[in-house]
Structure formats: structure tokens, C-alpha cells
Assembly symmetry: C2
């Protein structure tokens, strides 16, 4: 009999689903933010992002099911004992984050951020020419579930999509052109929209430098819906205040929350949202997490194949 520690805010239907998948297991339920120290030593299976620093207490842990896509903190050396299987929730956030990014893209192309500001001052002001997603060259940096969904939506609206990933491979549907991330600089010169969905790994820290923004068109739109540390705040401020690019939207900052003193808040040509593109903002997201966790729980208990296995070498899904 395995003990399953669930560290998520569940409704009754979610408990039923998990308990059906883990028939015969003992379930311990707690909520994110609550003290789990006493429960951890009993857990053979954990579902939910228990803080990594606490996991050394989970001495019997065999399977760790994250409720996030990002897994780098858990894949880092010393966090989980050797032999623990790590699985993430890739797929649960795709629709939510990709739709948010598309909304932000169109909003900036149509100057709706400026019209909103103008509305709040009761001003009937015309901001002139607008962009069009149809015919735009859209570079998608990070071609996981989220990036791919975003690319497919942009293409469905008439964009030419360039997907960038670490390793070349077969070109997925929805991507007109597949490039390697190390070809980024060249791609940036051609893009009308640069949408970044990179996870927070050591390779992606401050990946976008001022040189990258200088390489972009001055009419380009930049989006970051990955992790905040991909762009240094000062670099982003400079790129936007100097007009190296036309506008940007970031849902993630470094640090988070962004301090009130940050000059980023005040930029007219930046749309800043407080890390809300994912989370549980969309109803289906949490349902999908429970689906993934249920499948993995049943598979693990029966010796079947897990989904969303994280590669400890990269912090990404294998």
C-alpha cells in the first residue's frame, strides 16, 4: 500500500478521480502553503509542487508529479534522491498561456493598450496605422506545448511562423519554418513578432541581450510568457524606451512581483501582466493537471508507462 501525498486545492470530483486511479493507496491531502513537514516522510508518491527545499524530508519518495510545466528546480542536483521518477504537467497550461500571448499580440498590433490609456482620460484620439497578424512573420522561441499552440493559432490567422527549438527535428504542423535556437539572432532580423516561451533553466537566463533587441525590426513586437529571467529588466527597459522595438508584453518579470519602483510599469509601449497567463486562470487547466496525475498514478502502480517524464540532465520533459 503506497502513501500518496496530494499538495493541491482539490474539489470532491478531483479526489474521486485520483482515488479511483490509485485504488488501494492511502491518500494524505494538504494545501499549498500549509506545513507538510510531518507528512513528507510517509509519502511514496507526491502530487503537487511541494517546495524543493523540503523534499530531502521525503525519504521514501519514489514518484514526484509536479503540477507545473517548469521542472528545473526539481531536476537540480540534490533535490530528489537518485531513482525518484519526476513527471510534470506539460500540456495543462498550453491553451491558457498561448491564448493569453495571442491576445497580447493582437492588442499591441492594434494599439489597444494605447486606446485603453486614452479612454481612461476620456480622449477620442486616433493612434494611426496598425499591424496585422495576417502576413506577419512570427518567431516562436521555445516550441513546447505552449509555443506550438501559439504558433498554430498565429498561423490559422494568416501568419508565417518560424519555430525555434534547441535541436532541429521534424517540422511540426503549424510551423512554416523550423530553426535551432542558436540561429536566433538571424531569425530576429526577419520577425514582426517574437514570442518567447522558454522555461527557466540556466541556459535561458538573460538570453535576450541588448544586441538581440538591436537586431529586431524597430516595428517588432516582443512577448515573454516563459520565465522572467530570460530578459534582464534593464535591457527590456532600454529596448522599449529607446524604440529599438515597437512594443512588448511580458507576463513574467525578474523578480516577481515586480517592485513598485521598477521603471517598467510606466512604459506606454509595454503591456505588463502579473504572471497570470497560466496558473489556474483557465478552468480546464486544473482539470488537465488532475487528468495527467491520475494517469501517471495508475500507470506507476501497475508498472505502466508514465507520461511527461522529466530529464534530469536538462530539466525539460524528455
Amino acid at each position: 500500500m503506497k502513501t500518496v501525498l496530494v499538495y493541491l486545492p482539490l474539489e470532491p470530483r478531483h479526489r474521486e478521480k485520483l482515488e479511483a486511479a490509485g485504488a488501494g493507496c492511502r491518500f494524505l491531502y494538504t494545501l499549498p502553503g500549509e506545513d507538510v513537514d510531518a507528512l513528507l516522510p510517509q509519502a511514496e508518491i507526491i502530487i503537487g509542487n511541494v517546495p524543493p527545499a523540503k523534499l530531502n524530508k521525503a525519504e521514501k519518495l519514489e514518484l514526484m508529479q509536479l503540477n507545473s510545466s517548469g521542472a528545473a528546480e526539481y531536476a537540480a542536483p540534490g533535490v530528489l534522491r537518485p531513482g525518484v521518477r519526476l513527471v510534470n504537467a506539460t500540456g495543462a497550461y498550453g491553451r491558457s498561456v498561448a491564448e493569453h500571448a495571442l491576445a497580447a499580440t493582437l492588442m499591441l498590433q492594434k494599439n489597444l493598450h494605447l486606446y485603453r490609456d486614452s479612454q481612461r482620460q476620456a480622449r477620442w484620439t486616433d493612434f494611426g496605422k496598425v499591424g496585422s497578424i495576417a502576413g506577419s512573420v512570427v518567431a516562436v522561441v521555445g516550441l513546447g506545448d505552449i509555443g506550438l499552440r501559439y504558433a498554430r493559432m498565429a498561423k490559422a490567422l494568416g501568419a508565417y511562423t518560424i519555430g525555434l527549438k534547441r535541436r532541429a527535428g521534424e517540422r511540426p504542423e503549424g510551423v512554416d519554418e523550423l530553426r535551432r535556437t542558436d540561429e536566433l539572432m538571424e531569425v530576429l532580423t526577419r520577425a514582426d513578432v517574437v514570442a518567447s516561451f522558454l522555461p527557466g533553466t540556466k541556459d535561458t537566463e538573460h538570453l535576450y541581450t541588448l544586441e538581440h533587441f538591436k537586431a529586431m525590426k524597430d516595428s517588432a513586437i516582443f512577448l515573454n510568457c516563459g520565465r522572467g529571467n530570460a530578459v534582464d529588466g534593464q535591457v527590456l527597459y532600454e529596448a522599449l524606451s529607446k524604440g529599438l522595438i515597437a512594443a512588448a508584453s511580458v507576463d513574467v518579470t525578474d523578480p516577481e512581483p515586480l517592485p513598485e519602483s521598477s521603471p517598467l510599469w510606466g512604459l506606454d509601449n509595454l503591456l505588463l501582466t502579473p504572471h497570470v497567463s497560466g496558473g489556474y486562470h483557465l478552468y480546464e487547466t486544473f482539470e488537465t493537471i488532475i487528468d495527467i496525475a491520475s494517469k501517471n498514478l495508475a500507470a506507476y502502480l501497475s508498472g505502466g508507462e508514465l507520461v511527461n517524464i522529466v530529464d534530469f540532465a536538462t530539466g525539460y520533459r524528455k
Copy 2:
């Protein structure tokens, strides 16, 4: 030799195109807003929206090519002499207006109008659950070129689309369900998004009453990118301030510009843009107008078939 009066801001390439289509004609060029009184009596063909009240001076007029889609003011009795052919620019504004409406739809679904307000106050605030275009029921009222393009984009993003038009007919591609405008009330009860693209005719004046907004879901989003007089400002204010629907976006008001004293400006759940979804905000719009005008000019001179002929009985394209 016909005399063609062009009342549009042209670049040299536009003149070349028109003069190639109207080889042998005499061209008179003037700009919108300039005095055309002396030129009107000479014109057999007019390209561009000369104010309707002046057209009684165009005694020789045979063909009137509008640069707008809306044609009601020109189709009204007494404006054009019997026998004058009236053609409009349907097709030129479709991409521009439809993309603007889609941008506004997604912006409201994702609360980006609230996040923009919050950003301007340097506040890191989470506004909770969001909507999703995928799976939304989207009612498109007015299924001309603009409405149809909007429906197709919404469907490409996963929406279920209900198109409403005056007369039933064959269901066009991109529309999951075709209904008659007189079935509007029933459709409103099912829609997550109601997007209205009605032209300004006498039938559409104040078409949306408080009863219509009461019939909608309280989570519904309403958009008006047609003409402002389809909704009375007071009715819209009441619907939004009382929470009969969740949010709205209007690009058109009645009157325009909206007076600074209007309470609509201050509504958090309204996105108000100053009639900018169409016009010449998108590069391709004006190019398409010149294409249509060139085709009609050549066709008229050679006795060929005109496109975009306006029906004087309805004010719509036939």
C-alpha cells in the same frame, strides 16, 4: 471621353492604376474635405465619398464608386438621380475590422483591459479566472465580409460560431450555425461572445435594447464594430454598470466623437476605441479600395459587369 472625379488621397501608384483602368478618360483629382463644388457638374464618374448633400450638383453623374462599405446615406431617396449606378468598397475593410474585433474579444476574455489599468498604477494584482475563445459560442450579427472574416478567425481558434443574417441561405464556410436576424433573441441566450457588425441603416437603429442585454449571459462579451446607432449609449451604460453582461468593446458610438461628458468613458468593463477598426489604419485597406475602383471603372467603360453594386432599396450591397 468621360470625366472622372477622384476624391481620395492618392499616391502616384494609385493614380497610375486608375488611369490605366480608365484609359482615355479625363481625371480630376481633389482631396476629401476640399471644395468640390466647381468640379461636380463635370463629373460623369465619381470615385470617393463626396458628401451626399453636394451630389445634386453632379448633374452628369452616371457612376458613383464609394470608398466605404456603408452606403445608406447615398442610397437614400433624392441623393442620386435615378439611373446613377452606386457601388461600394465592400471587401476593403474586412481584415482590418475583423482583426480589431478579434483583438478586442481576446483582450476582454483575458482581462487585459483591467491589467492595463492596474499596470498604470504599478499594481501587481491578479484578476482571477479568464475566458477562452476555444469552446466559446460566438454569435456574429451581420454576416457581410467583415462578420464572415471574424467568424472564420474565431472558428479557427476553436469557437463555435453562429452567424446571423437577414435572410437565411446557404451556410457559409466558417459558420457552424446560420440563423436569421429575427432569431437574435434566442441566440443571445446561448452566446459567450456577441459580435455585431451591422451597417447603419434605419432597420438597425437602436436594435439592441435593454431586453437584449438581459437575455445575454451575465458572463457574455458584447462587441460593436458596425455603426454606433445600433446601441443607445444609455442602454449600453446600464447593461455594463449593472453587470447584465461581463464586458463590452465598442469602436463606434452615437454621436461620434463621444462627448467627454459621456459616462461610458469611465466604465472599467468597457473598452472604447474611437472608430479606428477600419478607416485606412491597415495598409492593405486603401490598396483594396483602389483595386475595386479600378475594376469598376474599367468594367463601366467597357460595358462589363460592376462589382459591389448597392441596392437602393436596402442600402446594402446586392
